[in-house]
C-alpha cells in the first residue's frame, strides 16, 4: 500500500496534466470560457443577497451582510460536494483507461478533487473583493490559517473520494444515495446559518460530530469574522483525523483495486 502511495508521486506529471485537461475541457466550446468560473459565484452571490435581504431577511447580529457570510461556507462546501459527486463516477467513466492503459486508478478520483479545488480557488478573488468592499480585509494573521484549512479539507475530501469511487464501481446506486446524503449534510452544517444562532444550542453536539462544521466554521472565522481564530484546535484535530481517514480510505481502495478492471 505504501509502495503504491509512493508511486503516486511518479505520476504527479500525469495528475497535473489531467487536472489541466479537466479544466480546459469544462469550458471548451462555451462562449465565455474560463470566465464562467468567475460568473458562477458572482451570480450565486447576487441571488443569495437578494433572497436574504429582500425575501427572507436575516437579522442575526454580527453576520451582516448575510450573503457574504454564507458565501464563506458555500464555496468550500461546493468544492467538497462536487468532488465527491464527480469522483463517484470517475472510475466508471474512466473505465477505458483502467482496462486498457497501465494506470494507477486512484489518479482518477484525485484528479476530480484537485480540479474542483482549482475551481474553488477561482471563486476566492470574488469573495475577497466583496469582503474588502462590504466588510473589512481579512486579517493577515488569520490568513496564515487559510492554507491549513485548505489542506485539511483536501485530505478529508480525498479520503472520502477514494472510498466513494471504489465502492461505486460495485454499487452503482451510491451516486444517487450520495446526492441525497450531501443535501442533508449541507443543511446539517452551519453554512447558511451561523453556529451561534440563538436557539441552536441543543444541537451543539450534533454540530461537533459533523466534520464539515469545523471546516465551515474555520473558513468563516478566517475570512468573515474579525479577531483571532477561535476554532484552530478543532481544525487541527480534524486534520489529524483526516490523515487517519485518508490512510483508511486508501487501504480500502487498494484492497478493491484489482477488482476494478473486471467490474467496471
Amino acid at each position: 500500500m505504501f509502495a503504491n502511495l509512493a508511486q503516486l508521486i511518479r505520476y504527479r506529471g500525469l495528475i497535473q496534466s489531467l487536472v489541466a485537461r479537466e479544466l480546459k475541457a469544462r469550458y471548451r466550446g462555451s462562449v465565455l470560457g474560463f470566465f464562467w468560473s468567475l460568473i458562477n459565484p458572482l451570480l450565486l452571490l447576487a441571488i443569495y443577497s437578494f433572497v436574504f435581504t429582500k425575501i427572507m431577511p436575516n437579522r442575526v447580529e454580527g453576520v451582516q451582510p448575510y450573503a457574504l457570510f454564507m458565501f464563506c461556507g458555500i464555496l468550500p462546501w461546493n468544492w467538497f460536494s462536487a468532488s465527491l459527486t464527480e469522483s463517484a463516477g470517475s472510475l466508471i467513466s474512466g473505465g477505458n483507461l483502467i482496462k486498457k492503459v497501465l494506470f494507477p486508478a486512484e489518479v482518477l478520483p484525485i484528479v476530480s478533487v484537485l480540479a474542483n479545488m482549482v475551481h474553488f480557488f477561482f471563486g476566492l478573488p470574488i469573495l475577497i473583493m466583496f469582503l474588502i468592499v462590504y466588510r473589512h480585509p481579512p486579517d493577515a494573521w488569520d490568513l496564515v490559517w487559510f492554507p491549513v484549512a485548505v489542506s485539511v479539507e483536501l485530505v478529508f475530501t480525498l479520503a472520502l473520494a477514494l472510498v466513494v469511487s471504489a465502492l461505486t464501481v460495485h454499487f452503482r446506486d451510491i451516486r444517487d444515495i450520495l446526492a441525497n446524503l450531501l443535501m442533508f449534510w449541507f443543511f446539517a452544517t452551519p453554512i447558511i446559518y451561523p453556529w451561534f444562532q440563538p436557539g441552536l444550542e441543543r444541537y451543539r453536539t450534533l454540530f461537533n460530530v459533523n466534520p464539515f462544521t469545523h471546516l465551515a466554521v474555520s473558513y468563516q472565522e478566517i475570512l468573515f469574522f474579525n479577531g483571532p481564530i477561535g476554532h484552530w484546535k478543532w481544525l487541527l484535530g480534524l486534520g489529524a483525523g483526516s490523515i487517519v481517514l485518508f490512510l483508511g480510505g486508501y487501504w480500502i481502495f487498494d484492497r478493491l483495486r484489482d477488482s476494478f478492471a473486471e467490474a467496471v
Binding site: G13, L14, S17, L18, R21, K24, A25, R28, G29, N96, L97, K99, K100, V101, L102, F103, L167, H170, F171, R172, D173, I174, I177, L256, D258, S259, A261, E262, A263
Partner: protein
C-alpha cells in the same frame, strides 16, 4: 537475454455478484456487502501458460477469439495481474492495445498527444522532442489543433498509434491494430515494426492475420481456451492452428448441412416445395438461378445420401484449394427406369453458379437404373478461390422433370493460403525475364 517471460501463468477473471450491477441498497437490506465485494463466479482465461520471448525477437500469438490472447498481452503490459504464476518483463513496455484510449474528445489533438504520452510514461520534454515526428506519422498536421471529437475514427486511431509507437519502448505489445487504417497506413505500421526489429527491440504481436505471423515472427505460440497448444516455429504453429480451425469449421458445416437437409425434409419444406411445384409446370422453381434452399421432386428416384470426400476418401466439409474432392450420391430407385439424368452445381455465397453440369449435357445416354446405386462426381483439383460454397445435386428426367432435386443443401469451405480474388483459380505459373527480381521470404 529474455525480454518477456511467463512461467506457469494463470488468470482467473472474476464476475461480481452475478447480476449486472448490484446496489448498495440491496446489499444493505440483504446484509451482503462483504459478499457482494467478493467474486461470485470465476472464469479461467489463461491456464498454466508459459513462454519465453528472447530480446530482440518478434513473437506472434495466434488463437481463436476468446482464447486468452488479449489477456496474455494485458498481463505482459501489467494492466492486470496474474492469479498464479510469474510474469517478467525487462525494459519499457508500450502497449498498442486500445489506441487513443485516453483521448478526451473536447480538447485538441495537440493536448491529447501530450496527455496520452504522459500516460504511456513519457515526460513532457520527451514528447516535445518527438511531437513533430508523431504528428507527421499520423498525417494530421493540419488538424492537430482541432478537438479530437471532430476526428474521423481513422484519424483517431492513427494519432493513437503514432503516440504509442513513439514512446520508443524496449518491448512493444501489439493487439490486432493492423486491422485499423487503410492499406497505406497498414504498410507504414509494418514498416515501423520492421524498423523496431532492426533496432533489436522485442515485439509481441497478437493477430488474426496469419501471413503476418509467418512473415514477421521468429517464434509463435498458439493459445486455445487459455492453454498453449503449440509453440515454436511460426510456420509449424500456424499450420497446426489452421488444421484445428478446419476441424472446427468441419463441425460447423456438418451441423449446418444436417440442419438444412432436415429442414428440407420437414413438413414446412414439403409445403413450400408444393407451392413451388404449383408455380411452374415441371415442378422447378420459376427461376433456377435464384438461390432458395429446398428439396423437391417426385421421388421416384431418390437421393438418399450425399457425401463430400477429400483425398483420403473420408467425408469432409473443408478442402484446400487445388485438392481433389468427390461428391458421392447414394441413389434409390423405387422402380427400374431408363430415363434419368444426374446433375451437380456449385454456387458461391453470392449465389453465383460457379459450375454446373449433368450427365445429359455431357452426352451420356441413360440405359437402366434399378435399386440402390452409387454415383460419384470426382473433381481432380478443386481450383476455386477461398470461400464458402454450396452444392446442388439432382436426379431428374431428360425433359427436366425432377425426381429428387436438392438445392443448396450442402455447404463446404475452400481454404487457401493465397488471397487471390474471383471464383476460379486457373492453374498457373509466373515467368519473368532475368532482369525481374523478387525477394523470397
Amino acid at each position: 537475454m529474455t525480454a518477456i517471460e511467463l512461467i506457469g501463468v494463470s488468470k482467473i477473471y472474476r464476475r461480481f455478484s452475478g447480476r449486472q450491477f448490484s446496489t448498495l441498497k440491496s446489499a444493505l437490506l440483504k446484509r451482503s456487502i462483504l459478499r457482494d465485494l467478493r467474486p461470485s463466479e470465476t472464469f479461467p482465461a489463461l491456464k498454466d501458460v508459459s513462454f519465453v520471448v528472447p530480446e530482440g525477437s518478434t513473437f506472434g500469438v495466434v488463437g481463436r477469439n476468446g482464447s486468452g490472447k488479449s489477456t496474455a498481452l494485458k498481463l505482459v503490459a501489467g494492466i492486470t495481474k496474474p492469479t498464479a504464476g510469474i510474469v517478467r518483463v525487462r525494459g519499457r513496455v508500450s502497449a498498442l492495445i486500445e489506441l487513443g484510449a485516453g483521448f478526451h474528445p473536447e480538447i485538441s489533438g495537440r493536448e491529447n498527444v501530450f496527455i496520452n504520452g504522459i500516460m504511456l510514461g513519457l515526460t513532457k520534454a520527451e514528447i516535445q522532442a518527438r511531437f513533430d515526428e508523431i504528428v507527421d506519422f499520423a498525417e494530421l498536421r493540419e488538424f492537430i489543433d482541432a478537438p479530437v471529437k471532430t476526428y474521423s475514427s481513422g484519424m483517431y486511431m492513427r494519432l493513437g498509434f503514432a503516440v504509442a509507437i513513439h514512446v520508443d519502448p524496449d518491448v512493444l505489445l501489439v493487439d490486432e491494430v493492423l486491422a485499423v487504417g487503410d492499406e497505406a497506413f497498414t504498410h507504414k505500421c509494418l514498416d515501423k515494426f520492421a524498423e523496431f526489429r532492426r533496432r533489436g527491440k522485442t515485439i509481441l504481436l497478437v493477430t488474426h492475420s496469419l501471413p503476418v505471423v509467418e512473415r514477421f515472427c521468429d517464434d509463435a505460440v498458439w493459445l486455445d481456451e487459455g492453454s498453449v497448444r503449440a509453440q515454436g516455429d511460426p510456420r509449424r504453429v500456424v499450420d497446426a492452428y489452421l488444421t484445428a480451425v478446419e476441424k472446427s469449421e468441419e463441425q460447423q458445416f456438418a451441423t449446418a448441412t444436417a440442419r438444412a437437409v432436415e429442414a428440407a425434409a420437414g413438413p414446412a419444406a414439403a409445403q413450400a416445395a408444393e407451392n413451388e411445384t404449383a408455380s411452374t409446370d415441371n415442378g422447378q422453381p420459376a427461376d433456377m438461378f435464384q438461390a432458395v434452399e429446398g428439396r423437391w421432386g417426385s421421388r421416384e428416384v431418390e437421393i438418399s445420401e450425399v457425401a463430400l470426400t477429400g483425398a483420403d476418401g473420408r467425408p469432409s466439409f473443408v478442402f484446400r484449394s487445388g485438392d481433389p474432392m468427390s461428391i458421392r450420391l447414394r441413389i434409390h430407385a423405387a422402380q427400374p427406369t431408363d430415363d434419368f439424368v444426374f446433375g451437380v452445381g456449385l454456387f458461391n455465397t453470392a449465389g453465383v453458379c460457379c459450375y454446373g453440369t449433368n450427365t445429359y449435357v455431357e452426352e451420356m445416354t441413360p440405359a437402366r437404373l434399378e435399386g440402390d446405386a452409387e454415383v460419384t462426381f470426382a473433381i481432380e483439383a478443386l481450383d476455386l478461390v477461398e470461400g464458402t460454397y454450396k452444392l446442388d445435386v439432382a436426379v431428374h428426367k431428360r425433359d427436366g422433370a425432377p425426381y429428387d432435386y436438392h438445392r443448396l443443401l450442402y455447404t463446404f469451405r475452400v481454404n487457401s493460403r493465397t488471397h487471390d480474388v474471383g471464383i476460379y483459380r486457373p492453374r498457373h505459373k509466373w515467368a519473368f525475364s532475368e532482369n525481374v527480381k523478387f525477394t523470397h521470404s
